[in-house]
């Protein structure tokens, strides 16, 4: 333990595991949307009324969004007990029970966290549980969590995102201290390369190779950018990480900056994520106050500033060159590559841009080693991937699984199927840049290559589940509507092409399509993919092309029989 971190570590442990009752409310956006703030307020009032000796805090999202608001209760020395779907009356009853009996209620107790892993420190802490809770499943045995492997999400729902101390108490900034005191920048890059980590924004380019290019380009001034401009419909992975564990991202960015030789970085977060912005801002101030950012970090002589830039809402700003233009003060429009940003990026200087999740993985790789990380997942697709499971799925939530898992294990095993009695028909991955994969391919493994060859992409992690009630033509129309509006309009292929694809899909859903439209759609889709300037246009046709490939029968029903098999489209109108 580096001496600088010791006081933080001690304070963090004291607040993570106090000698009093600790009540924790999941207060990421998912929890708040389900009413977590009202539950928190009710708990707070009741604790005062009953003069209960308890500490009440908020935490981030543990991932089980379906059952929010979640409230955990921990008795001193015992494992946390998770209570689901809390309401104000249930919150008050919980406090009453605690005050009256000094024990925990069994009712609505969904799981007991009887062991907590500190991944960075390679340490597992075990806790006892009350005998009356013996029938409650362990957290690690609940099907939703059992086959997950949490690396990016290691602290989400376990720490107070407003507390730097709690992050340190779970091994935070220890990797940074080790890197700065014991490793050369080249050693850091070698370790990341050895880990096999690929860009989690969806592109899947080797993080180590990208860093190497930026390091090798001559020049004093280099930059690091953390991409938190997540904007896919149905995707909220980056938001949750920033809201639940902002320090993990900051630590990863600092390590990346050290590796490439950058002294200035930018975290680009869309302003539609006010809570993520707030918590990251707070975490940046804490890191500066504790000497983890700024001049002479942890006494190492390394200087690095990290500033937050709020995105104004254009989806295309998630594209790296558009993001650079936006940070420079220009409008968010991409420019042709090469040169790649790693060679000439922000203000023409070598710039590494990685996703929030990529950076948040880095401290773990540094602490546990590249080989350790490479052993998780599949060869060539090492490590884990975070998905937001949404749509017609029983267990909506944020999950992290090893790469190489089958879609089936993810959707049925963790997701619990559609949960409404209807079969799952398809899953849309990668948002508007991805495609729809049909149920018959669910034995497919989740890897960058298999997703791409099936006509979708890994993407950043949005996973929209569609059951039999969905019309695939309508789904494609929805996504093309999104990309048409979000195209920046700079290049002809994307600006005009997405609009024409949307028009074709719209007339098909309105019963005015013809069989010729299907061939035209295919032709335009391929041209827009091949001819567009940036990643937005190059992937925008995917929802149309993949649904046409796998659900041609539905298209034919629309254009030949003028019938929508799912009964969604006004074809006969």
């Amino acid at each position: 333990m580096p001496a600088d971190l010791e006081p933080l570590h001690a304070a963090g442990r004291a607040s993570l595991y106090p000698d009093r009752i600790k009540i924790t409310v999941g207060m990421a956006t998912c929890g708040l949307a389900a009413g977590a703030d009202a539950v928190y307020e009710a708990l707070s009032q009741r604790i005062k009324q009953r003069e209960l000796d308890a500490v009440l805090v908020g935490t981030g999202c543990i991932g089980f969004c379906q059952q929010e608001p979640l409230v955990d209760v921990r008795l001193p020395g015992q494992g946390r007990v998770i209570y689901t779907q809390m309401t104000r009356p249930r919150a008050r009853a919980l406090v009453d029970h605690l005050a009256q009996t000094g024990t925990l209620p069994v009712d609505r107790a969904w799981a007991v966290i009887d062991q907590e892993e500190s991944l960075v420190e390679d340490r597992v802490e075990r806790f006892s549980r009350l005998p009356e809770l013996s029938g409650v499943p362990a957290y690690s045995q609940q099907p939703f969590f059992a086959s997950q492997r949490k690396i990016v999400l290691r602290n989400c729902g376990f720490v107070d995102p407003a507390s730097c101390e709690e992050y340190v108490a779970r091994g935070g900034y220890r990797a940074l201290a080790g890197v700065l005191s014991e490793m050369t920048p080249q050693q850091v890059i070698d370790e990341v390369t050895r880990s096999g980590l690929r860009g989690r924004g969806g592109g899947g380019f080797s993080a180590g190779r990208k860093w190497q290019v930026a390091r090798d380009v001559p020049g004093e001034t280099k930059y690091v950018i953390c991409n938190g401009d997540e904007g896919d419909p149905g995707a909220y992975m980056d938001r949750t990480v920033l809201e639940s564990d902002p320090h993990s991202v900051i630590e990863g960015v600092i390590i990346g900056a050290y590796a490439i030789g950058a002294h200035q970085g930018y975290a680009y977060v869309r302003d539609e994520y006010p809570l993520a912005v707030e918590r990251l801002t707070n975490a940046l101030a804490q890191a500066e106050a504790h000497g983890l950012l700024g001049e002479n970090i942890l006494g190492s002589g390394f200087n690095f500033r990290l500033d937050l830039v709020r995105g104004a809402g254009a989806f295309v700003c998630g594209e790296e060159t558009a993001m650079i233009s936006s940070i420079e003060g220009g409008s968010g429009e991409p420019r042709p590559k090469p040169p790649y940003p790693a060679v000439a990026g922000l203000w023409g200087r070598p710039t590494v841009i990685n996703n929030v999740k990529t950076f948040s993985t880095v401290p773990v790789i540094m602490a546990r080693g590249g080989d350790w990380y490479a052993a998780v997942g599949a060869p060539g697709n090492t490590g884990t991937v975070v998905f937001s499971l949404v749509g017609q799925i029983a267990n909506t939530g944020l999950v992290e699984v090893p790469l190489g898992m089958t879609l089936n294990d993810l959707l049925e095993g963790i997701g619990g199927g559609s949960g409404n009695g209807r079969a799952i028909k398809a899953v849309q991955t990668g948002g508007p840049s991805g495609g729809c994969l049909p149920a018959r391919l669910f034995d497919m493994r989740i890897t960058y290559e298999e997703m791409t060859s099936a006509g979708s992409i890994m993407g950043s992690g949005g996973m929209v589940v569609l059951d039999e009630s969905a019309c695939m033509v309508d789904v494609a129309r929805y996504f093309l509507d999104f990309t048409t509006v979000e195209s920046c309009g700079k290049c002809t292929a994307c600006r005009e092409g997405t609009g024409h694809l949307r028009a074709i899909l719209t007339r098909i859903t309105q019963g005015q399509g013809t069989p010729d439209d299907l061939a035209l759609m295919e032709e335009v889709g391929q041209a827009v993919k091949a001819g567009s300037l940036c990643g937005l246009g190059q992937t925008a046709p995917n929802p149309a092309l993949s649904t046409l490939r796998y659900f041609r029968d539905e298209y034919e029903a629309h254009v030949i029989e003028h019938r929508c098999p799912a009964g969604k489209c006004p074809v006969g109108a």
Binding site: S331, R335, V485, E486, C488, G489, T492, A493, A527
Partner: protein, 257 residues
């Protein structure tokens, strides 16, 4: 100096040249809309798409792609040609009545479009961005810019009102490949119709005819040579220049005698 192959022709191009510069150097005809020699490449019109055969097969925008040693380029490759033709169909639908686009498309064998014509039948602008870029990057005025995104994208002054930063130089009209920018000088004013902008003209100190945009008067301080000639309208300048020549001719004549 990289050596590359364009349509079977081997040529050596200057260091730092783009693929499009190599194509032009090879004398291969490849019309474009958003490329202009005096400005950095932009990569927007997609009419310079060509196929890379080697080293790695790809379809690239030639204007922005650096020519690298050993590259083999086909301007009429199947993938690039297919995309260029669709792009021209897009442009025909966008500017259904505009002869400039019709001629350009016809040259590539595209005479009609399968896409519905724009509801704005008199659309002339293809959003190549040359006017915006020359105004911002070369003139330094940035009087006009892009407004909106996706299908809503258009070019104009802020809020479509009188462009306060416009100096009336007319560079936007000069570079426009589709003659979409309409400018005329009327009654002592330069009217930039497309930008809802009017700029007063200064009178010629010699003949009194209005001729130069007032906001450009600062140029006099920067142009030292023939200063008195630059201060005149074109007609007076011609007269003055001819008179000067006459003086020189006389002097030479006398000297030789």
């Amino acid at each position: 100096m990289p050596t590359i192959v364009v349509d079977g022709q081997t040529l050596t191009v200057p260091e730092g040249a783009t693929v499009l510069q190599a194509i032009r150097q090879a004398g291969v005809h490849l019309p474009t809309l958003c490329y202009w020699e005096g400005l950095p490449p932009y990569g927007a019109c997609r009419l310079c798409l060509v196929d890379v055969v080697s080293p790695k097969p790809d379809t690239i925008a030639a204007c922005a792609y650096p020519a690298a040693e050993g590259m083999v380029i086909e301007t009429q490759g199947p993938r690039a040609t297919a995309v260029r033709k669709i792009v021209l169909e897009f442009l025909l639908a966008r500017c259904p009545t505009w002869n400039v686009i019709r001629a350009m498309a016809a040259e590539a064998g595209v005479t009609e479009t399968r896409f519905p014509a724009s509801t704005k039948a008199d659309e002339l602008c293809v959003l190549c961005g040359l006017c915006v870029r020359i105004c911002r990057d070369a003139v330094g005025a940035a009087a006009i810019g892009f407004i909106g995104r996706g299908p809503e994208r258009q070019v104009g002054p802020p809020f479509h009102l009188q462009a306060e930063a416009c100096i009336g130089c007319g560079a936007c009209a000069a570079v426009c490949p589709t003659d979409a920018v309409k400018i005329e000088d009327v009654d002592g004013q330069r009217i930039l119709h497309t930008w809802n902008t009017r700029v007063p003209l200064e009178p010629c100190p010699s003949c009194g005819q209005p001729y130069a945009p007032e906001p450009m008067a600062f140029l006099r301080e920067h142009v030292e040579a023939s200063q008195h000639l630059w201060g005149l309208c074109p007609a007076c300048r011609r007269k003055a220049a001819a008179a000067q020549l006459e003086v020189i001719r006389e002097a030479t004549f006398h000297a030789l005698r």
